[in-house]
Symmetry: C2
Subunit: 333 residues, 2 copies
């Protein structure tokens, strides 16, 4: 991802919400990364304490953030998402040092952000920034969640295309503004990034079964798995029970011909990862129900590729590497 960003003259400002780990953060630093993206003030505080001094908080500003931001702004370069001119003024009064502002755009995925056609609101924010000494309008940010509905590289490219064309138009109207792209599927499958100045993917650090379904990666690219102890195997109804519930994996699922898959069992042999004929068909708090050919379960545990690695990682306080090292992370967003 570093090489790809460099080749396209894009800044690379990875989202750290997926791993939430100071140690894994260091691996990025070794690759030359100096600025990062997070999703909350508390996550910014965690990474600032571990030596990161240039942080984007990729969540719309709300008033209760102020105290945390005042403190962070004393020693950390901040980039904030602000949707209203009055919030720009509030932030300018409250924060002593300079900070930068992104306008998050809604280009069709209908989560947060200002609709890209709402030029009145966009311009009011930029104008508010221009009048205040410690505020700098940085540019535009899009996380297009729509690419998560894609099921092939072609579909990802099709879904992100209108956003890139909106960026092209805005680039003409707002010279000097930077254009940032947030989602992992686009960053994974695109090879050139015209009209984009910055990439901030997060999930790609681990990937997961959902990203395999989307077409962002192959199963061999996935770097996070759950080792689940087998508690019961019932050959009568081809079902097994594992210790692996919603509190371990989260309750995200992908739908496969109408059946919900809460986690794909895999075989890993010499770092070759292949799907097993087994998947988690139901989760309660601690129980996972495995459906499929349970005759293939031979050991005391199964290895599961999580559906959504960000949420699975969030439920654990450390990682274990394949060579037995423990990697700490923060807990509880």
């Amino acid at each position: 991802m570093v090489q790809k960003a460099t080749a396209s003259y894009c800044d690379f400002r990875p989202h750290f919400k997926t791993h939430q780990s100071a140690t894994i953060g260091e691996w990025f630093r070794e690759k030359g990364v100096t600025g990062i993206t997070v999703s909350s003030v508390s996550m910014a505080e965690y990474f600032h304490e571990t030596g990161w001094n240039d942080i984007t908080i990729a969540f719309p500003f709300f008033a209760a953030q102020i105290e945390g931001l005042i403190k962070l702004n004393q020693s950390c370069k901040l980039r904030l998402f602000v949707n209203r001119a009055e919030d720009i003024q509030l932030l300018s009064r409250s924060l002593t040092n300079d900070f930068r502002v992104y306008i998050e755009l809604n280009t069709g995925s209908n989560r947060s952000g200002i609709h890209h056609e709402n030029r009145l609101q966009i311009d009011s924010i930029i104008e508010a920034c221009s009048k205040l000494e410690n505020v700098h309008f940085h540019g535009f940010y899009v996380h297009h969640g729509g690419t998560y509905k894609a099921r092939s590289k072609e579909e990802i490219t099709e879904i992100i295309a209108p956003t890139l064309s909106i960026y092209k138009d805005l680039k003409a109207g707002y010279p000097g503004a930077k254009f940032s792209l947030g989602d992992t599927p686009s960053a994974s499958v695109m090879t050139t990034f015209d009209n984009v100045d910055e990439l901030t993917p997060g999930n790609f650090v681990f990937y997961d079964w959902m990203q395999v379904q989307i077409g962002s990666c192959t199963l061999n690219d996935v770097a996070l798995f759950s080792l689940l102890p087998v508690a019961q195997v019932s050959k009568d109804n081809n079902q097994a029970i594992v210790l692996g519930g919603a509190v371990h994996l989260s309750k995200d699922f992908v739908e496969d011909n109408g059946a919900r898959n809460y986690g794909q069992v895999v075989n890993i042999i010499n770092y070759e990862i292949t799907p097993a004929p087994l998947y988690l068909s139901a989760l309660s708090q601690e129980h996972g129900t495995i459906t499929g050919n349970v005759e293939t379960i031979t050991g005391n545990h199964v290895v599961v590729c999580p559906i959504h690695s960000c949420l699975t990682a969030n439920l654990h306080d450390h990682y274990l590497t394949t060579d037995g090292k423990i990697i700490d992370k923060r807990i509880l967003s």
Copy 2:
């Protein structure tokens, strides 16, 4: 629930997986509770350290539990779910002191447990217990997840009826065995418990929006809510963004006419709780999307009744009471 259990001559052995809090555990102790139910060895360790000495681990035994169980068994009365005679022998060899065994039955909900008609396996476990000095067969346990599919008191009663009739039959065949019932919906709506010796509900301590839908309780019975900061209100598309995502609430939902509800916004006035015309229609990691009449959002936050309070509670390290007290809890199952 204490009064109801007493009136029906049932032991009351509440499941503590919902609150996971030593302080809330004390409230139960004040009501005379001496034995509890948990779902993992680590949860048993937490509550044993806070003074509980009679604990059921309501999850099928698996080999990796052994070390934890050996330690717990030195100072804590244990009741374990064991599905295989060879595991009874393994446990007997490993644990120094006495322990009790439940046979978990599958009476139709098809999660863990032995199918109630599989008398061969049931008898092999009871026989294994009878031959070993430190093992005592205690009785049968059913958590019938099927009641979670009910949408009225009548449906709950209908769904649990076959289990009670199975209990009646088994009671004749296994004199001396105790019969335990685990699910919150049954414990909530039933008034008499023939052929049941023990109730172990957990969720009822807080209830949630799912239990309101099931018919276990009313909204006024719910005791856990999430206060979510409002980050953006878009009157164009009747949508608001709150800080409240899968890492705060979990990703459980109920379906309402095909639409997913990830959390019901409520109004609380003088402890009267009523649903607002707003609900969480989508969740990503940190963002919650609120759909409905956003004109009714007037403050800086919304109050949300979680879909599944066990999972929401699991994602937080403390509770805040309405009179401003912080109640600690354990984190990360």
